[in-house]
């Protein structure tokens, strides 16, 4: 665990409005290099919106984003990609008519290192093996099942050799066996020095994996700290009890 204290990503007072809806309310957070930073919150809390703002998909209504010290607030997604920010999507977005291999090559070609085709192909092959999709290299992306598509997204993001990786519910829809495989992979990614921000609903996973956790509810921060601190925070418990599914699981003791 090589975490030094350098802040690699800073979100400062970011708000995002969509018409009358305030999706993000003065969110401020700092992510240190090399850490795994978890983001949790009930459904609709604004987690994916936060990623979209960090990533450049939408500009924030207010606030600033700093990546490695540089103000990247209004830059479009491809500029963020060039600077070393990669991302997976909550609802997977494979490039359907291209093969798995072509998808990952695309990740390598246009990411931080902006590699030429031959080098990109070699990196792509490595990443495909790393996520375990080697046998399906030549399959069309649209023909994969959900778990495989998630792995494809991951490989594609990794092929860009990012400095910071944004994972949006990468465990959703996976069975326990697949989850445990994915957790191992995520740990291996961190060991390579990549900083990870993860949105996740699976409590045991994110609590186990994260160095620090940030909790969003209705677009605003309600807690931040180590997994221990956050899970004992009464405001967090209240926010989740408002979520009937979690309340039930609290009662069952499976949270």
């Amino acid at each position: 665990m090589n975490t030094n204290d350098a802040v690699i990503l800073r979100v400062e007072n970011v708000s995002k409005r969509f018409g009358g809806l305030l999706a993000l309310d003065r969110v401020t957070l700092s992510v240190k290099q090399g850490e795994i930073f978890g983001i949790i919150g009930p459904n609709g809390a604004g987690k994916t919106t936060l990623f979209n703002v960090i990533n450049g998909v939408y500009p924030p209504t207010e606030g600033r984003i700093f990546f490695r010290g540089e103000d990247v607030t209004n830059l479009p997604p491809y500029e963020l990609a060039r600077r070393g920010l990669a991302r997976t999507f909550q609802v997977v977005r494979p490039l359907g008519e291209l093969t798995v291999r072509e998808n990952v090559i695309a990740g390598a070609c246009f990411g931080r290192e902006h590699l030429p085709l031959e080098k990109a192909e070699r990196i792509a092959d490595e990443m495909i093996e790393f996520v375990g999709l080697g046998a399906r290299k030549e399959m069309l992306a649209s023909k994969l099942n959900v778990a495989q598509k998630k792995r494809l997204e991951l490989a594609r993001a990794l092929a860009a050799r990012p400095i910071v990786l944004l994972l949006d519910e990468v465990l959703a829809g996976l069975n326990p066996h697949e989850i445990s495989d994915m957790l191992t992979v995520i740990r291996q990614i961190r060991e390579q020095g990549i900083t990870i921000l993860m949105i996740e609903h699976l409590m045991h996973a994110i609590m186990n994996l994260s160095d620090r956790v940030f909790v969003l509810d209705y677009g605003a921060q309600i807690a931040e700290g180590t997994p221990q601190e956050v899970s004992n925070n009464p405001r967090v418990i209240e926010a989740y009890l408002g979520d009937p599914d979690v309340a039930r699981r609290f009662l069952e003791g499976t949270v």
């Binding site: 990533n55 998909v57 479009p76 997604p77 491809y78 990609a81 060039r82 991302r87 999507f89 977005r93 490039l95 359907g96 008519e97 291209l98 072509e102 090559i105 695309a106 990740g107 070609c109 246009f110 990411g111 931080r112 902006h114 030429p116 085709l117 031959e118 990109a120 030549e138 594609r156 860009a160």
Partner: protein
């Protein structure tokens, strides 16, 4: 470069050259006329494939570049006795420049809006040229037969035009290949599949689309220049005939969009079929109906076209059949 090592690349070029050489070897003017037209359609279809098949942007009015190239080159050859190949090159450059300037704003539109805009652009240019008296207005321009003397007479000029068309077809196909197998081409296809995801990966969509559109305008323009040079007459109607670009689209769909060989196959099959239908006495009136039915069947059941279908059914071939 990567592509030049691919054997398929050379196979396609050689086969195409062989086909093109047939009329010369057999000294058949009829066959040469036939091939001339097919090559021209191949060039149109391949160019549309470059913008549509690779990026997914449907340029319905693409024929506008055919007309623009034709008019510019015709004017240069007629007024300044510029050699027709040079005039064609200038025509190509003019068309590409216009594509670049128009492309910048227009390519920001998505889907149907872009398609409609390209139709509007074609119609605007056609209406303009119909009124532009210095270049013939609605009557168009024509060559005094003496123009061909510089080329050794009209017959010789026809021969030369044929060779030029062959050369252009080879260059177009080669370019289509090079784009497809390059990193640039991968970026285009990412845009086609999911433009927003492509942006997140790091692709700069506006830049890529505009460059592609500019390239895709060059070849139809030169084809138009060569065609009208040989024709000796250029009029706004035939130069900007919307139907022709739609036919080119059909050829791309028939053969398989997003592939290099698709437009080639599509052009050949479509033209052969059309020729057959028109010359057959019972079917000639029905050719439009039959073509329409064919198009509908392809659209409903075989969207990937002939080449695409083969690639899907025989995955092993996918790597080799581009």
């Amino acid at each position: 470069m990567h592509t030049l090592k691919s054997p398929f690349f050379w196979i396609v070029l050689i086969v195409l050259s062989a086909l093109a050489a047939l009329p010369v070897l057999t000294n058949s003017t009829a066959m040469r006329e036939d091939m001339f037209l097919i090559l021209m359609l191949m060039i149109l279809a391949s160019s549309i494939n470059i913008i549509m098949g690779y990026t997914g942007y449907v340029s319905f009015g693409h024929i506008v570049f055919f007309g623009l190239g034709g008019y510019v080159a015709f004017f240069l050859t007629r007024e300044f006795q510029v050699h027709f190949v040079l005039a064609a090159l200038v025509g190509g450059i003019c068309a590409s420049t216009i594509a670049f300037l128009i492309g910048l704003p227009v390519l920001r539109l998505r889907g149907a809006y872009f398609a409609l805009a390209t139709i509007g652009i074609n119609e605007a240019f056609r209406a303009f040229f119909t009124n532009f008296e210095p270049w013939g207005g609605s009557v168009g321009m024509f060559f005094n037969i003496a123009v061909y003397d510089a080329y050794g007479g009209a017959k010789n000029a026809g021969q030369l035009a044929y060779y030029a068309m062959v050369g252009l077809a080879l260059v177009t196909v080669a370019t289509s290949f090079l784009i497809k197998k390059s990193r640039f081409g991968l970026g285009l296809m990412a845009i086609r599949e999911d433009q927003d995801a492509a942006m997140v990966l790091g692709v700069h969509p506006a830049r890529y689309k505009v460059i592609t559109y500019t390239i895709s305008a060059f070849f139809p323009a030169m084809a138009g220049a060569i065609f009208f040079f040989k024709n000796g007459l250029i009029e706004p109607g035939p130069a900007f005939e919307l139907h022709r670009s739609i036919e080119a689209l059909v050829m791309v769909m028939l053969g398989g969009y997003g592939t290099v060989t698709g437009p080639i196959v599509g052009a050949i099959v479509y033209e052969r079929l059309r020729g057959f239908l028109i010359t057959d006495p019972t079917l000639s009136n029905a050719h439009l109906v039959i073509a329409g039915v064919m198009l509908l069947l392809i659209v409903l059941f075989m969207t990937a076209g002939v080449v695409g279908w083969v690639r899907q059914r025989v995955p092993a071939l996918r790597r080799y059949l581009e």
